[in-house]
Symmetry: C2
Subunit: 563 residues, 2 copies
Amino acid sequence: MSPYSEIKFDINYDPANLRWNGWGAEGHDFFYANRVPEIVALLAKEIGVAPDSFASTPSVALEDLRVPPARIGEAGLKSLATIVGKDAVFADRRMRVLYSRGQSYYDLIRLRTNQFSVYSDAVVFPSDEKQVAKLLAWCEKNRAAFIPCGGASSVVGGLEPIAGAHKAILTVNLQRMNKLIEVDEISGLATFEAGIFGPQIERILNDRGWTLGHFPQSFEYSTLGGWAAARSAGQQSNRYGKIEEILTALRMVSPAGEIETLRAPAGATGPDWNQIIAGSEGLLGVITRATVKIHRLPEVRSYFAAYFPDLARAVAFVQDAVHADFAMARISDALETRNLEILSRAVKPETAASAFKHQLQEQALRIAGMRAGRCLVIAGFEGDAREVQGREITARQLIRKHKGFYGGKSGGQNWQRGRFNMPFLRNHLLERGIGVDTLETAVTYDRVFELHDAVLKALKKSADPCLAMCHLSHSYHEGACLYFTCMFPIDVRDPVGQWKRIKIAASDAVVAAGGNISHHHGVGADHRPWFLKSLGATGVGALKALKANLDPKAILNPGKLFG
Amino acid sequence: MSPYSEIKFDINYDPANLRWNGWGAEGHDFFYANRVPEIVALLAKEIGVAPDSFASTPSVALEDLRVPPARIGEAGLKSLATIVGKDAVFADRRMRVLYSRGQSYYDLIRLRTNQFSVYSDAVVFPSDEKQVAKLLAWCEKNRAAFIPCGGASSVVGGLEPIAGAHKAILTVNLQRMNKLIEVDEISGLATFEAGIFGPQIERILNDRGWTLGHFPQSFEYSTLGGWAAARSAGQQSNRYGKIEEILTALRMVSPAGEIETLRAPAGATGPDWNQIIAGSEGLLGVITRATVKIHRLPEVRSYFAAYFPDLARAVAFVQDAVHADFAMARISDALETRNLEILSRAVKPETAASAFKHQLQEQALRIAGMRAGRCLVIAGFEGDAREVQGREITARQLIRKHKGFYGGKSGGQNWQRGRFNMPFLRNHLLERGIGVDTLETAVTYDRVFELHDAVLKALKKSADPCLAMCHLSHSYHEGACLYFTCMFPIDVRDPVGQWKRIKIAASDAVVAAGGNISHHHGVGADHRPWFLKSLGATGVGALKALKANLDPKAILNPGKLFG
């Protein structure tokens, strides 16, 4: 069995095949789609409402969306076709809808309830860097906004079609720029065009015995350029690094010209351009190429479950894990732990045998001191078999040190199997009146508990009734990423107002507790006010000056980040 | 014994006590100053010249330096005194000379031969951030250049007093801003004012059981702010990270205002301001505070020597070491290995017993296959005793895997003892007609050997006759830092022209072979042409726009980096 066998390599990315109002491609679904009614019933109980109290919330049909006429006419489309070719220019309803939004709850609820009023006017698919440069010039000349796009999986409004003073909006989708440029097996580096999807990268590298090791939850539907532009984090970032650490070099095409960073390991040559381009969310230019660190396919990827009596013990364990070569160490807080346990039972029909097995497990946990309030940790290692074996011994010692309970590998395997699957469940919940929003932040350890409690309080107050829970998804020397999930009955009278209330309350609480407004989702349009406040006027002014130099006509991705 | 006992905590940083034309404070010297004649004789042999062929090159006396009158008059000094206090403003000869140069060969040879024509007009020592802001405003108002300064140990012309269009030059020395602001033992973070020296940081942290772990060779005479401004690397950066990785937050005061980055572990909030400020070399503002990652004092610091039959085997070993928790793994090439061996014998009088011991060692090495061309590696670990023990077993396996020979710990201990001492030897060599220049670069592994050979060839050609050698000082996943040392008879007719010839040849060779013009020394005035070429017009233009916004009157450190 390949250590990466859970990767689905045969995804059909044909836009005709992608869901315009939900996650993923047609035919690619939640593993337990047939158990959704049972899941809904359980969630009702957890939220504290009657199981039949959720509204029916079917999506409007694509044909019924109020999509205004495109502001790029026949002549414009023709001139675009001279740049990218006829088969790479689209102004049809489906394409305009598909690439005018990301995958945030805010995006999807507006689409599904027909409240989106602005759409991109055309979508083009350049096939090389020269075409990108020409498209930039086209937008400058035609006073059109230029929105760069990869997998369109932003959950922070990174693709929000904001025209501003522009006469039209052009979305430029990089998916056809997905070639491998070079694999350097001596230096452990590979260079790809930026529009390549996660599974396409892994297929190319796995065939040669290598891996990138970057697995965000969006892995199946997001691209290398998108990861870099938004500072993505993979689930194994403890081992492989966050995308900005994985990058060795970048190439970006701006209206003012091209910037290519040096393909060298480290430097003392002024501000680090990789770290200016990473996170620039398409405001400074279009990332066209990236050189990334690659690793030999690990012989073993071994994940296990462990339980800790409370969040404090689990966090102390993870602080040790950061310095003990863990590929990942992920903590669910008490409520998320409880819900993961419930969910894992709900997705399979209960039999006498399974009920009995569950009873035994519960008993074992209680005997070990893991009662209500216990926190689940999924953690593990990747590498040579012997190396991993040694580390697992250390892991067991660390679990004991922090009064935890080793829960075996089946929990780890389940997590691996389902790691990219949860976004598909949301598709179903949105149909059944249940809203699902997520948000994340990074904070130093001295503030973890304060922030955890403050954000949950804000969510509970603003989304009452709801189920609000948290996991600690990534950890560092000095702090961690806290990832919150909030599920609530959709207020059909004003779903957008409901979301805004929740978003504002949660974001205010994050910033007040010293958290970063984003650890890996990015800023986009949604986090902009909190980002501007955190950075302050001097920093914002300087970034604007940088943009004014690279993008003097301000065509690039208006209204996002500091734009 | 403290694991950090080789740190000299009692250095007297009083400017009156610092050498104005060489490294360090009076009374702080090369350990084997009494053996310098023997060392000179050996170097002559290695360079290939007669031992008495070196010119006598005593320094001009401080009184005889042609220091032009200061262009900041009594009134100016008085108004500066209202900002920083009377005891913090200096325009005397010694102070102006001391802080108008760094510690490069180019700086020292010009000073010692009285070829420096421009000096800073005054030196001030602010004691807080508000004073820094007022000094910026003073320079804007008085059209003076503002050169921020820490330990004045730049080896790339980072302090070069270039007035440009300015009416005067003010050097602002941060050394009095050396307070601890906070130690956060929960998050493993400490915040200091930027002007604090290396040993001052370690003393504060060691007393509490912590360490920063950042030990550049300049450690004893350089400051936190200087490290950040120039992207310094410590000798143990494999374990503790390069300074830009050690930084969690920074505060910078610019003419346009203050930028303070968020004290959070990681983010997805646009371009990373820590990585814009790090390496900005005083062009964008003055770094006034830094929050850095700190670590529990390791129980053990254990370094050993190993030999490999050639550079290729040693590099292969180090590539494995990068992923095996080494705190350091440093390779000397064949010629540096040979010279280190010769030097270590030269510093002590030879006895019959020591000659016999050397003979035995040589025999053992030859039997193990380590003949001429062998490369010395100094490597080791820091951490818990048990942990380090385990890693040492792995290290021995890796040495065997790459056909190396374990050379024991005494070589490692010698390296630890002398790690900060070599710059003092240069003081003596400069007196005796021997020039010493060093340069470094970072390059990917696929180009290490090509670059190594090309740069040595360029040095040998441009500095003929010379002794040119190299060590690989820092290593990364995808490449390494190569550090070159060149020793040559000073051409007393034109020492500056001689240096320029060498610098240009070496830098051209570095860039042609794909290396970064600097890995940890910085750009300053000396590397500027190669830096500008590497980054390209678009990137340079954007940085200039950034600077124009933060420093609209262009007072900050003119003529360095992209300024």
